[in-house]
């Protein structure tokens, strides 16, 4: 299939491109949403256009199936010719597809499944990155809170950590959060 990608997240676009190429597809254009999409469509004649659900430029693609004397291959939203379940999964993953009307549905579905998988994976990556950042922040704050306890209560490092952990357990919060509230309190005193 001839696929056109429209995304302003270059990391995600690269992931998706790789996956599509290894599935035997051709990526005929990679664009950012601010590019001239209609011109690119008429130049590259894609079978499928994959675009982020929340891209403002989707409304431009919506017009491809409408009032088109000079476009012999009307392009429609994937949802209008497919199983509702795949369309819904795609939207939840954050990708929508515009396809040439009448395109064979089994090959189309494989392209869209690849897109859903890559968008999901990318979302998971972003979440993981955010979690890693939180973990790093936790370790930093726990270290600082231990320092405060060691200095003010004259505790050893192990004792300070045990106390911090007990505080977290008593209040039913994560140790990082306990450390942050202790630091905030220490700042006030």
């Amino acid at each position: 299939m001839r696929v056109m990608l429209v995304d302003d997240d270059y990391g995600r676009m690269a992931l998706l491109r790789q996956a599509l190429l290894s599935g035997g597809n051709e990526v005929v254009a990679q664009l950012s949403p601010a590019d001239d999409l209609l011109h690119a469509v008429s130049q590259c004649q894609p079978d499928v256009i994959l675009i982020e659900v929340d891209s403002p430029s989707r409304d431009t693609l919506e017009s491809l199936g409408q009032i088109n004397r000079d476009r012999p291959r009307p392009i429609v939203l994937f949802a209008s010719q497919s199983d509702a379940d795949t369309a819904r999964r795609a939207m939840r993953a954050g990708v929508s597809a515009y396809v040439v009307d009448g395109m064979s549905s089994s090959r189309l579905k494989s392209v869209i499944d690849v897109a859903i998988a890559r968008f999901d994976e990318h979302q998971a990556l972003r979440k993981e990155l955010a979690e890693t950042k939180t973990r790093l922040a936790d370790r930093r704050d726990v270290d600082r809170a231990k320092g405060v306890l060691m200095q003010r209560r004259k505790l050893t490092e192990t004792e300070a950590y045990e106390l911090l952990r007990k505080m977290a357990m008593d209040r039913n919060v994560k140790i990082g959060d306990a450390a942050r509230s202790l630091l905030a309190a220490a700042e006030l005193l």
């Binding site: 601010a34 989707r58 409304d59 431009t60 693609l61 919506e62 429609v76 949802a79």
Partner: protein, 401 residues
């Protein structure tokens, strides 16, 4: 805590409502920030969406309970021509007027307009396009915002009535409103029809000039509606009515002139609109009476603005048929009555004690001035409904009521 007794038995109280970053999203933002939703027992979270396509998809998927929509969108959805074909309905019009047609500085200079109004602007544009054709220039490009938009039909109406074939003499493209100014600057489009504040933003940026206000094309023309899927409306009848009542109250609040500056501030503070604050304020200012360009400006409540006139829906379906989006065989009156639910509006508005029209239809193009409509609850002050080419749109077959 809610103070309104009608909140008893709401099927759902916590709701997600979608809006597009435009000044006429004001009723929804006002209903949230001035407590109108809350008074009806509703907790509403507003989700700012990037495109009309995403509004439609998320309403269909149930990720949004309802949304600000272009008036023709629920019709296109029910007619099955919008790509998804999930039946939708509206029981509330959110506003009248508000769009403008702007052209690039270059086109503006070439048009040499002395007045900003549709007849002379149409004539000047037609002359310019004739010149282009003789010079062998490639077709000009005008943008609107969605295939099923008031902007699209208003633009086509104006062009066609000016003797310009919108499919042959120029090219129409869809550009999202937040990108029109950039596209005009880059020379990718020559003009656009978009909602407030984007025409003013183009002027402020020095890249374009407004030449026609859509009020001048069709006085007090319907603009946005509050839309839901038919399935959602059937499953949440009480919640739906509470939403409509809260939004009517927000629209009434918005049409008190002294509230407009506060409304502008709410929109600016909500951060939904990435436009210069001055243009948001100006778009909400009430023009001086009789302003030849803006007319009454954005109207949210006056002139029975909140009522979902079934005749408006018929007008939109006729435009879809005129431009080949929908088959001639479609029964416009039947579909319109299915989608524009004046009965639900009356249910919701009844407890508010406001005058309600006795009929679901009104003729268009028959009042050049403000007029009044008598109804069982008293009289309703109505606005002019003139088309710039003096056309008359009646359902009785030509004879105005």
């Amino acid at each position: 805590m809610n103070v309104n007794t009608t909140s008893a038995g709401l099927e759902k109280k916590r709701l997600q409502i979608g809006i597009i970053p435009l000044v006429d999203a004001a009723p929804i933002i006002v209903a949230r920030d001035k407590g109108f939703f809350e008074r009806h027992g509703l907790h509403v979270d507003i989700s700012v969406e990037a495109s009309w396509a995403s509004i439609r998809d998320k309403v269909v998927a149930g990720m949004l309970d309802g949304a600000q929509m272009l008036a023709p969108m629920p019709l296109a959805a029910t007619l099955g021509v919008d790509g998804i074909g999930t039946p939708m309905l509206t029981a509330l019009s959110l506003n009248l007027n508000g769009n403008s047609i702007a052209v690039s500085e270059g086109v503006y200079r070439a048009m040499r307009l002395t007045r900003r109004e549709p007849v002379s602007a149409g004539r000047a544009l037609k002359a310019l396009l004739e010149h282009d054709r003789i010079d062998g220039r490639k077709p000009r490009v005008f943008a609107h915002v969605f295939p099923f938009s008031t902007h699209h039909y208003e633009l086509r109406y104006w062009l066609a009535a000016s003797g310009i074939d919108p499919d042959r003499d120029l090219r129409l493209e869809v550009v999202p409103p937040q990108l029109v100014v950039q596209h005009l600057r880059d020379g990718r489009i020559d003009g656009f029809c978009a909602g407030a504040p984007w025409g003013a933003v183009a002027e402020l940026a020095g890249v374009g000039q407004r030449i026609v206000n859509t009020h001048q094309i069709w006085n007090n023309s319907p603009e946005k509606v509050f839309g839901v899927t038919r399935e959602w409306a059937d499953a949440h009848p009480r919640t739906h009515r509470a939403l409509v009542a809260a939004l009517i109250e927000a629209c009434r609040w918005l049409d008190e002139a002294e509230h407009r500056p506060e409304a502008a501030q709410l929109l600016i503070d909500a951060g939904a609109l990435d436009a210069p604050p001055a243009t948001i304020r100006t778009a909400l200012d009430m023009p001086v009476p009789g302003d030849p360009f803006f007319g009454p400006g954005l109207v949210f409540y006056r002139n029975a603005a909140t009522f979902p006139w079934v005749s408006h829906a018929i007008w939109f379906i006729r435009q879809m048929q005129r431009w080949g989006q929908v088959a001639e065989s479609v029964d416009a009156a039947a579909v319109a009555a299915e989608v524009y639910r004046a009965d639900i509006y009356r249910d919701a508005a009844g407890p508010l004690g406001i005058p309600l029209p006795d009929t679901d239809h009104k003729d268009e193009g028959v009042h050049a001035q403000d007029w009044s409509l008598s109804c069982s609850g008293g009289t309703l002050a109505m606005g002019s409904d003139r088309f710039f080419d003096d056309a008359v749109f009646t359902l009785g077959g030509g004879q105005p009521a």
